[in-house]
């Protein structure tokens, strides 16, 4: 059975958002793209379990999120066995984030507990409602709300924002943005 071309179109249109989600979750472009690839393969293989008329984006995000969670747990065990903290080891490898802009923000995101990070990204960046985010994460709406609040507060502390003016693209980001504009 071939996948309906219209369905493929819809999936294709969601790929950029899946990537943004994966990169925000993992802080690493290569890993994120692998996650997206696995997600697409899984989605196509299980397309029959998608209920037409429901939210394809939420469905794909759920698959990706679950992939990330299981991989994260596995990696966390491996890395912690090897040399202690997963998060520290991730942050201490600058090349993982150097390809990305908004570096300070990404590093701060990386320091959030993963359940807070995913909640914040889903609601604060992907534009899902609290209800949709709760469905994606398989938890209660109230849980999502409190994770988002804690994440926001923690980011503010982490970024040490004392006034609105303090906060903005760092120098590298600005330079990269300028370079982008010239392209």
């Amino acid at each position: 059975m071939k996948t309906d071309p219209a369905t493929l179109q819809i999936i294709m249109a969601i790929v950029p958002k899946l990537r943004a989600f994966a990169i925000s979750l993992s802080g690493n472009v290569d890993r994120a793209d692998d996650l997206v690839q696995e997600t697409l393969m899984r989605a196509i293989a299980n397309i029959d379990s998608f209920e037409p008329g429901t939210n394809m984006q939420a469905w794909l995000f759920t698959i990706l999120r679950n992939r990330f969670r299981s991989e994260y747990r596995k990696r966390k065990r491996e890395v912690e066995d090897a040399d202690g903290h997963y998060t520290d080891s991730l942050i201490s490898q600058p090349e993982q984030t150097s390809k990305l802009e908004y570096k300070e923000l990404r590093v701060a995101l990386e320091k959030l507990p993963s359940d807070q990070r995913e909640a914040l990204i889903l609601v604060g960046a992907s534009g899902f409602s609290y209800e949709e985010a709760a469905a994606i994460c398989g938890c209660a709406v109230g849980t999502i709300k409190s994770r988002v609040n804690r994440a926001r507060n923690r980011l503010a502390t982490e970024l040490d924002v004392k006034s609105v003016d303090d906060f903005g693209p760092d120098r590298n980001t600005r330079a990269a943005m300028a370079a982008n504009d010239r392209r």
Binding site: K2, M12, S24, L40, L105, G124, S126, N149, R152, F167
Partner: protein
């Protein structure tokens, strides 16, 4: 999907806090949208085409017809 509603998610404390939270929300979305704006890398366009052609090994009788 509404962005404004999200930025407005009520912080408990005062005005500065709210502004900072709004700013963080804005940065978060800008960071995110920057990736979204990159579109679909060829890798995935090709993958989807390939996946569509090579559907999982036949599971049902009707497929062999």
């Amino acid at each position: 999907m509404s962005n404004e509603a999200v930025a407005g998610a009520k912080p408990k404390s005062g005005g500065l806090d709210r502004q900072i939270q709004a700013k963080i929300g804005q940065q978060l979305r800008a960071m995110y949208d920057e990736v979204v704006d990159q579109g679909v890398p060829d890798r995935f366009a090709e993958l989807l085409k390939k996946l569509d052609g090579a559907q999982p090994a036949p599971k049902t009788e009707e497929e062999s017809r």
